[in-house]
Symmetry: D3
Subunit: 235 residues, 6 copies
């Protein structure tokens, strides 16, 4: 389960994890709260005749293609961007989704991002929806309360400025081509970021090896946990 | 591999992890930098005729019994306590041990403890020894450089005052009787702590369940990672 | 003055402080923003025929009994839980209460709790209401502006995950039986927590002694200050 | 560009920077979100016959005089104080102003202030408005997207309690008389603060010299950056 | 008990607390680890014929006069400054002093000071000596182990840069004249600091009132606790 | 002035700043505390017949070539690595150098690096030497006390794990070829790092533009300040 503030965030930041999870036989649903239509579609707005509708439609298509490439289902809430507006309906929709999907892990933005408050708001929304979805007394009697799902923050654009400290480096070497292909789906709006995120995956891969991964790991994504892990072994 | 500032720390704080690792077929070596002879043996000093030698001997025996109960090998450096004195020889001994044992994980004290600077110094010593043991240019040509061993801090007595934030809750339910027995070995000097650490294990067990462990988890130990984890799945 | 997000929080987390204050001749008012009816009443929802109304009524009764046992007055705002909804009316009610009661100390939740955003929201609400209640220009001309009340956070369930660092350990030994009795009032919904909080009181008691309290201190509660203390002696 | 929660904040906290900027040939616009009419006008409320309108009018006049003294333009949003209420209209107004003024630097409150949540809310509002103003897809097609404006926090009343760490000490020696005159304009409401802020400017001046400023620096103001600086030299 | 890295620190930073404690009938011993002869005696070095001995002697005299003015005993270890050198003998001397004096509270420098590592080293030394002095097994059998003494950091010159957050504001109004007189004793070396610290006392006094002290409080000193307080009331 | 723990650190981490400073007409001295002979010369140790002397000699040559390429003077202290050993002589040498060179800015490692304690120790050494070099009472009467030099940390290998937050992004576009050439000088020992640091420079360049640098900026280096900046303008 991935909750993305804007339509493209899940591709750049968590595309490897999604593809990896699918490769391992899991199923992934991506929820885009908005299309990033106002704030992250500069290239589309430069096209002649661009309107809010054409931009949203283009972003919808791009994100759908990217999700398909990664093997994930995708849904959109169209809650508006720059600023993202979190109404009761948005919260309720997310709660319903959590109870329907019963995710073990939820990927979303980091808790802080001074460049982009939509990201921070999404993090807070996810924590709130997680809490509500765990309640036993919701009107919806047909779904089960959500369990203690882990919330993992994916990497923001400028991690140090966002208090983002990687505590898990995920090997995405085997699915990197798939992530690369998904990133290219976003070309209309944010094509200049592809190289940036290829380099980042390489950088995180080098760091993974420095932290004990096998030398065969060439690409990685960084994640930050919200809650402690539990288990019966130390690593 | 466990590095303990004083002879008893490894029992209270990491006894479950040791027993668990042994139960899973691993081997564990405990290194006690000192006997805690001056600072953590109040009961022994109250015995008539107590001298530094008798106290050390008693602590040596207790710790040896506890390690045996847990299934671990144990070594002592007798480097002095209150204050612990880290000489070049102590560092060299630790480096040699790391290269001989090639641990994947090293358990030790947290980085900060305003109540007990021996603990903080041990943490720093472990990081320094880990770094040195990784060097390719040591005079010792017969051992291999150490890999990227994880360093896990076990729980200090007053965790919040030590900036200790649990990021792994280890299920020790199945080995708790063994830990309990090991704790009782320390009776001469610090018997009053047994109840305290039983309660703590229960408390961490409740928290483990709150963070997603099965309800069968009744006892746990808390750990804090120094380095990010690496892997091919998200949890 | 205690501001509790849900009907039971004040019992587990601050029951000792309340009883202690009453024992010392003070008066305490507890304000419950909600009944915790949706999120913290799992046992009540398992009863046949449970509805939002029956659950609220049961929680109202339990909390009222607990407050009475502790010697405190209690009021309810019924603002909803999971999520708590802070309207202007809720803020106004709290401001009015602060100006009526003129508390020296306000006990409430900690500033951060990733498990329970209702708690964090309550903390923020209290700080906002405190600020508003200090204003000289409110329409209400009959009450005095609030003074510089201290805001103390009581202990969350998983303190380290909430950046909660105890900076005051309150001796509740003499009133612990009363707290115990109050905790038992909450049996219908959260009875399993009684043992947990008995253990916690013992643990904080041991730590109090470690920090200089007399050995007679057997039970304590932990608090975190928001503002500096002032005074004419150093301790 | 300065965004001030209440009508007087910009004078005490950033008056030197404003005067300095004007002296250097720049232009400065101050935006006051509220008049501080309820919470920061105690002296005005003590005048006989004071009403919300008279207090606001007095504050409007004082702040206008102060801005004029400093050489800045000033605008008011009258959004209410204690608590400040951030509606969509307030956000839109700020976005429009940012796009009209295209500021390189925005001065505002620090991110945290437990004494005064209006201040923290203003900081968050500024970051949100900055983000929105950078979007390419706003309905307003006549203004350009805002660039990467720096956001500098000016000094809160109790900096340490607000996590405020000065990372820039601005020499205001040459314009201090002007700031002093502007502070005196606020006499009706907050005259007692003039001495306090004179002392503070001296204190920050001493510290500036300690950090390498010439000995001629006698008065300074402290600022905290939100974003990294960029440039082609190291200092 | 006050532990001061250099001969004058205790005057500027803790003079009020010392005088206050003496006024209340307590006894205070000041320990100066060095004279600050190399690093904090610029004015003395400018005198013709200055040598290390003349500077030390002058500083010895000044500090003795200041301590006498405050009503405190004073001792010097002459351990060298810039850099302070902490040998085993220095640690042993401090441990012996702690066991002889059995202080309830120890005042010293903050844990961090990037401008002056002698200060940070003194803080660490105090924590280490406190720990050693608590040990039951020291060779010295004639003194009792130290109890759980609180360690309070007094205010560094640039508090925000030193992570210094005041959590206690001590009213020194009634003894301020005495502190002022003591500060003037340091005239030879650091006379320019008197005004600075008068202003600081006023500033902290204003803040004390803001945090609930009576309006009669005009001067204060700021302190930061190392350990939690314990007690039977909430404030 | 650059202080590098090992012979190559200054190239990877600060080569651009050095070249930039030289290009702007400044002079730069690099001080290598050690050759990194044991810990950062794996490739050299794999050569047949390698001894400590041959490795040191090779590293000496490489670093000298790199410094020459960058236009900097270079000196070596040969203080040993893994672990670096800071003796009084090392401190004295650094103090003497600071007083001789009178740097405005000192570049060195970050304050924390759990992977490499030599780096953290170097940071602490630099702060200590800076403090000592500022003292008026040093035996050396022929040099002037050092001024308030800024200490800038260059970027560690895994910045987030080292609490490294960039607060200055230095444009090195115009000198990048020179840095690239200097990095290639280190080929014998650490050639695999060249690509990594080319990518990093690109990444920091993209971020510089995001923070307001002109679009022509293609390569940058990140720095973290230790002390506040001072100046007469806000940016």
């Amino acid at each position: 389960m991935v909750v993305s503030a804007h339509a493209a965030d899940f591709v750049w930041r968590a595309g490897g994890a999604i593809a990896r999870c699918v490769e391992d036989g899991g199923s992934v649903t991506v929820l885009c709260l908005s299309y990033g239509e106002r704030g992250e579609s500069a290239a589309l707005w430069r096209e002649p005749g661009a309107t809010l509708e054409t931009v949203k439609a283009a972003r919808h298509q791009e994100a759908t293609n990217a999700a398909e490439t990664l093997g994930a289902a995708i849904e959109f809430l169209d809650a508006g961007d720059y600023p993202l507006t979190v109404t009761d309906a948005v919260l309720d929709a997310l709660v319903a989704l959590f109870r329907r999907e019963q995710p073990d892990v939820i990927l979303t933005h980091a808790a802080r991002d001074p460049y982009n408050l939509d990201h921070a708001l999404t993090h807070e929304l996810v924590l709130r929806a997680r809490m509500v979805a765990q309640a036993h007394g919701l009107p919806d009697r047909e779904t089960e309360p959500l369990g203690a799902a882990q919330v993992l923050a994916f990497e923001p654009h400028q991690p140090e400025q966002c208090d983002f400290v990687p505590d898990h480096l995920l090997d995405i070497t085997s699915v990197f081509e798939r992530k690369h292909a998904a990133m290219k789906c976003m070309g209309g709006a944010q094509g200049h970021l592809v190289d940036y995120y290829v380099d980042l995956a390489t950088r995180r891969g080098v760091q993974a090896v420095r932290n004990g991964a096998p030398r065969s790991v060439a690409r990685a994504e960084a994640y930050m946990r919200t809650f402690p892990t539990v288990g019966s072994s130390l690593w």
